[in-house]
Subunit: 231 residues, 2 copies
Amino acid sequence: MSREPRLVEVRKNVLKQNDVVARELRQRFRDAGVCVVSLVSSPGAGKTALLERTLTLLHPRYRVAALVGDLATENDAARLRRSGARVEQIVTGTVCHLEAAMIQRIIEGWELESLDFLFVENVGNLVCPASYDLGEDLRFVAISVTEGEDKPLKYPTIFNSADVALVTKLDLAAAVDFDRAAADANIQAVRPGMEVVHLSARSGEGMDRFLALLERQLAETRAARVAGRAS
Amino acid sequence: MSREPRLVEVRKNVLKQNDVVARELRQRFRDAGVCVVSLVSSPGAGKTALLERTLTLLHPRYRVAALVGDLATENDAARLRRSGARVEQIVTGTVCHLEAAMIQRIIEGWELESLDFLFVENVGNLVCPASYDLGEDLRFVAISVTEGEDKPLKYPTIFNSADVALVTKLDLAAAVDFDRAAADANIQAVRPGMEVVHLSARSGEGMDRFLALLERQLAETRAARVAGRAS
């Protein structure tokens, strides 16, 4: 079709502009020593439940904040604020992903130095967020056991844009005859060597590994900050 | 941002072009007397399982075919072909939705008159498919009980683009403490009067209502064909 090249060209410009803003954000986050972690998944894979538990577990020991993206409603922000953390909602309207400029706008005036972790929950979507760098240090892609073991094969791009895979709702694994070996094999097929954490925000299983991973990343982010200052 | 108006303009042209092709498709489907039914949902909400059961149940009595959209893999088509129906896979690459032109291309040369039902399973996505008319008679939007009752509020556009809502995986309702009244209220909040069918492709519960709805639509499609010929 004749319209495709023009649309592709416009999209490329949008992505290029996003990359410029994401680079600026990443530098700003690094200078402030804040560890920025993003979550992508299908709608209903349990991002908010995981974040709720994570914020509650981290809150006494670390200074945490979160940004949550949705097409509509402020529900997730209201739910997450109960953890005591600072949480802001980004309402995207009809846009199927967060963009670096949306993050930049919402954190305007924030004192990032006063934070250890900033979590970014993307719009529920296994396609669109793949192309948009948000300046994060670590991107998790989550699939729930109820979605089926084949999802990595069907949505390879998002697995390739992420750093670590999460398999969520582990407490429902038996109820849906979840085949862990098949899911793991499919993740490794699209992204050989990818680290995978199986967990349940409801039962708490696997949360220790998830938190250890976050703390490891925080240490790396801080080491990079020190290295940046020394150079 | 300065780039937005241009992107919006290009998107509008794409949508307008899609509408033209969808109109042609709808006329072609109507002339052939084939009832075209599409399914949209999140990844892993159970579209393929529902379609598998539906094709198997309809196959002895009706002439059925299906088109299935995915970013990658031919898995769904292979799975659905076991029902004995003609099934074709549409691989979209990085595109997050089906478009009317994709349908038009894949059914080129088909004798649509030899079909009663043509099912179209969209890419798993609760955002992007909303804007693309595929020329179908009936569009179902499905949410599974495991996704949470709030999804209609968070993805209102897709509920407004669909004719009937399905609540799938009803066999898991107890395991996830699914609140049926809350889900129904949220659907009605974004789309007052919307018809809702609760079902499980696994247990078979609610399949009779779903099939009755399909047969009602087939009767309407055929009545419209007769009316079209008489005028």
